[in-house]
C-alpha cells in the first residue's frame, strides 16, 4: 500500500487542494447564509449547477471564457437576490424548518428546470486556450487550469475576508450574526444585509460551478452530491465560521484525495468518518461557536 513515490504523493496532495477549493467556495456561501440568517440553504447545490450552465450559455453567446467566468457568478448572485426577496423573506420569523423545506423544494425545481432547458444529457465546457495543457511543477505535470482554480479561489477568499473584516458593511454582517436584535435596535435594516449576504453566497456557489465546469462538465444533477459534501464541510468547519469553511474545505479535499490514493473503496464514506470524529470531539465544529444552533 505504501509503495508509492514521494512525487506521486505530492501530486496527490496538490490534486486534493483543487478538490478542496471547490468545497471552500461552496461552504463559505452556505456558512455565511446560515451564520447570519440561520437558513439551511438546500438550493445551494442548484446554484452551483446554475453557475456551470450560465457559464456555458455565456461562453456560447460571447465566445469568451473570461466573460463567462465574470458574469455567470453575477447572474447566479442576482438569481439568489430574487430567491431571497421573493421566496425566503416571507418565511423569516417562522419555524427554521420552513426555509429548509422551501429551499429543498426549490432545488428539485431547479434541477428539473435545467433538464427541461438544457437537456438531460450533460454539456462540456472547454477551458480557454491560455489555460489548456499542463505545467511542470518539478515533481509532476499538473493541469494549468487546476492551478488557475486554486489562484481564483485564494483571491476571492482573501477579498471576502478583507470585505468582512475591514468594511463597514462587513462589520454589520458580523454584528448581525452575533446579535441581530441589538443591530436592529441600533437602527440598521438587517433585511437589506440578509439580502446582500444571500446574494454573495449564491454568487460564490455560481463561481464554484463555472470553475468546476471545465473539469467536470455541466449536468443537471451536478449539485446533488456536492451539496451533501459541502454540508459536511460546513459542519466540520463550524456553522457560520468563514475560517472554518476554508480549513474544513481544504481538509475534506485532502481527505477525499488521500483516501482515493490509499483505499479507493473508502473514498465515498471517508468524509463522513471525518465529520463523525470532529463532531464527537468538538460538537460545534472546528471553529464553530457553541450555541449558534439553539
Amino acid at each position: 500500500v505504501f509503495d508509492v513515490s514521494a512525487a506521486a504523493l505530492a501530486a496527490q496532495l496538490f490534486t486534493g487542494l483543487v478538490l478542496g477549493m471547490i468545497f471552500v467556495l461552496l461552504a463559505i456561501g452556505l456558512s455565511l447564509i446560515f451564520g447570519l440568517m440561520t437558513v439551511v440553504n438546500f438550493a445551494h447545490g442548484s446554484f452551483y449547477m446554475l453557475g456551470a450552465y450560465f457559464g456555458f450559455v455565456l461562453l456560447g453567446l460571447t465566445g469568451s471564457f473570461w466573460v463567462a467566468l465574470a458574469f455567470a457568478p453575477l447572474a447566479v448572485g442576482v438569481f439568489g437576490l430574487f430567491v431571497e426577496r421573493v421566496l425566503i423573506r416571507p418565511l423569516y420569523g417562522r419555524n427554521p424548518d420552513d426555509p429548509l423545506l422551501l429551499t429543498f423544494g426549490l432545488s428539485l425545481v431547479l434541477v428539473e428546470a435545467a433538464r427541461v432547458i438544457w437537456g438531460k444529457i450533460g454539456l462540456t465546457l472547454d477551458p480557454p486556450a491560455a489555460l489548456a495543457g499542463a505545467v511542470d511543477l518539478g515533481f509532476t505535470w499538473f493541469p494549468t487550469y487546476r492551478l488557475f482554480v486554486i489562484a481564483v479561489t485564494v483571491v476571492v477568499v482573501v477579498a471576502l475576508w478583507v470585505f468582512l473584516k475591514r468594511s463597514n458593511v462587513g462589520l454589520v454582517i458580523r454584528a448581525g450574526s452575533r446579535d441581530p436584535l441589538m443591530v436592529t435596535a441600533l437602527g440598521i435594516d438587517l433585511r437589506r444585509i440578509w439580502l446582500l449576504v444571500f446574494g454573495i453566497g449564491s454568487a460564490l456557489a455560481g463561481l464554484a460551478g463555472i470553475l468546476a465546469g471545465p473539469m467536470r462538465g455541466a449536468y443537471a444533477e451536478m449539485g446533488v452530491t456536492m451539496i451533501i459534501e459541502s454540508f459536511v464541510v460546513v459542519v466540520v468547519g463550524g456553522m457560520g465560521s468563514l475560517l472554518g469553511a476554508v480549513v474544513a474545505g481544504l481538509l475534506i479535499g485532502e481527505v477525499v484525495s488521500l483516501t482515493t490514493f490509499f483505499a479507493p473503496k473508502l473514498s465515498d464514506i471517508a468524509v463522513f468518518g471525518v465529520m463523525a470524529v470532529v463532531l464527537l470531539l468538538r460538537p460545534s465544529g472546528l471553529f464553530g461557536e457553541a450555541g449558534l444552533m439553539e
Partner: protein, 405 residues
Amino acid sequence: MQRRTFLRTTAVGAATLAFPAIVRAQGGDTIKIGFPGPTTGPFGALAKDQQQGAIVAVEELNARGGVLGRKLEVLFRDDELKPAVGAQRTKELIENEKCEFIVGGLAAHVQMAINEQTKAAKKLFISVSQSDEISAKPDLGPLTFHEALNPTITSRAVGTWVSQNLGKKWWILYADYAWGKQNTAVLTDVLKKQGGTLLGSTPYPLGNPEFSAHLPRIIDARPEVLVTMTPGADNIAFLKQAISYGMKKQMKIAQPLHWLPQLKQGGPDLYSDIFAGISFSWQLEDQIPEAKNYVQLYRKKYNEPPGDYGAYAYSAIHEVARGITLAKAVNSDAVASALLANPTYNHYKGKQWWRTCDHKAFQDLWIVKGRERSKMKGDWDFVEIVQKVPASESLDRTCAEKGVA
C-alpha cells in the same frame, strides 16, 4: 441562446413532461411493448438512443402493415437508473398498460429488477444492455432473452486484442458496480492468460464526476495501457481529466466500449486514439445492407446516425415482431418458443443467433479507434474500424459455466 430557441426548447420540454413519450399507432387494438429505461441521469443519452432505435423499428414495422394485421405501440417509462423504480414501472406497464412484451433496461442492476417482474408476470423480456447474470442462473427465466453483448464477450474480445496490440502492462480503473466489476474480472483473467502484468486496479463510485484523485498514482505506475470502465457521462469527465494530466501521451487508453452519444459530446479532442470495442457503428452501412437500411431510416427521422445501444433496441423490437409472426400469436410463451425454434436472425448488422440454452444473442463486434479531427469525414465520423471480431459462442461462458446447461 436566442429567445426563439429558448422558447422552442422550453415548449418542447414542457410538452415532453406533459405527455410521456408514447408512440401511438392509429386504431385501437395495438400490440403493446413496454420499454423502461433511464432517460434521466448519467445514462440519459444512451437511453435516448435506445428509445429512438425502438421508435424507428416500430414505425418501420407499422409502415409495412404491422404484425398479424395489428399495429405495434411502444410505451417508454423512465426507470431513473434505480432498480426499485425499474421494477415499479415494469409492473405498471404489464398490469395497467397491459403490455404483453417488455424490451429495455440499461445497467445490469436495473435489468435484474425488470427481469424479476417479467418473470413473475410470465412476460417476454428482451434485455438490451450489458449483463453477465441475465443469461445465467439464477436470473435467466424461461422468457428472458438477452440481445446485447455482455462483459465476458466484450472484455474477452477487447482485452485479447489490446494485450496483443497495445501492450501487456496494464492499469485498470473501473466504476464500482456490476458492469465495471465484471469487466475487470474478465480483463484480469484475459491479461493473465496472455502473460501480461496488472500493475493495479482502482474502483471509483459510478456517477462521480471527479477523477483527478485517481490519476497521480496511475501516472506514477507507468502502465503501457490504461483500461477504464467509465460508462455514460463519467467517460467524458474521465477522459477530459486524464488528458489534462497529459496521460494520453504517456500511455495507451482503452475501454470495453465506445458509445456514440459520448463520442459526439466529447468529440475528437477527447476520443482520438482511444481504443474500444463496439457492437455497432454506423459506418458499417458501407459493408452491410441491413446496416444501411437501419442507418438510413434512423437518419431520416432524427437527422443523425444511430448509436450502438439504439441498434440493440431496434433489433429487439424486430425480434418481438418476428416472434409474433412466427408464432401467429400475441403471447409471450408462444413468441419465446418460436424464437428458440428459429434462432437465426439478421436485422441490422449481419447474422445473429439465440443460443437455446441461455437465450443469449451471439453477434459480431468490432475493435475501433478514435479518429483525429483532421481525418474525420463529416460530423459523425468519430471512429475507424480496426478489426472485426466475428460472432462466436466461445467468447462467452458455456451454458454449463452459467448453470443453465
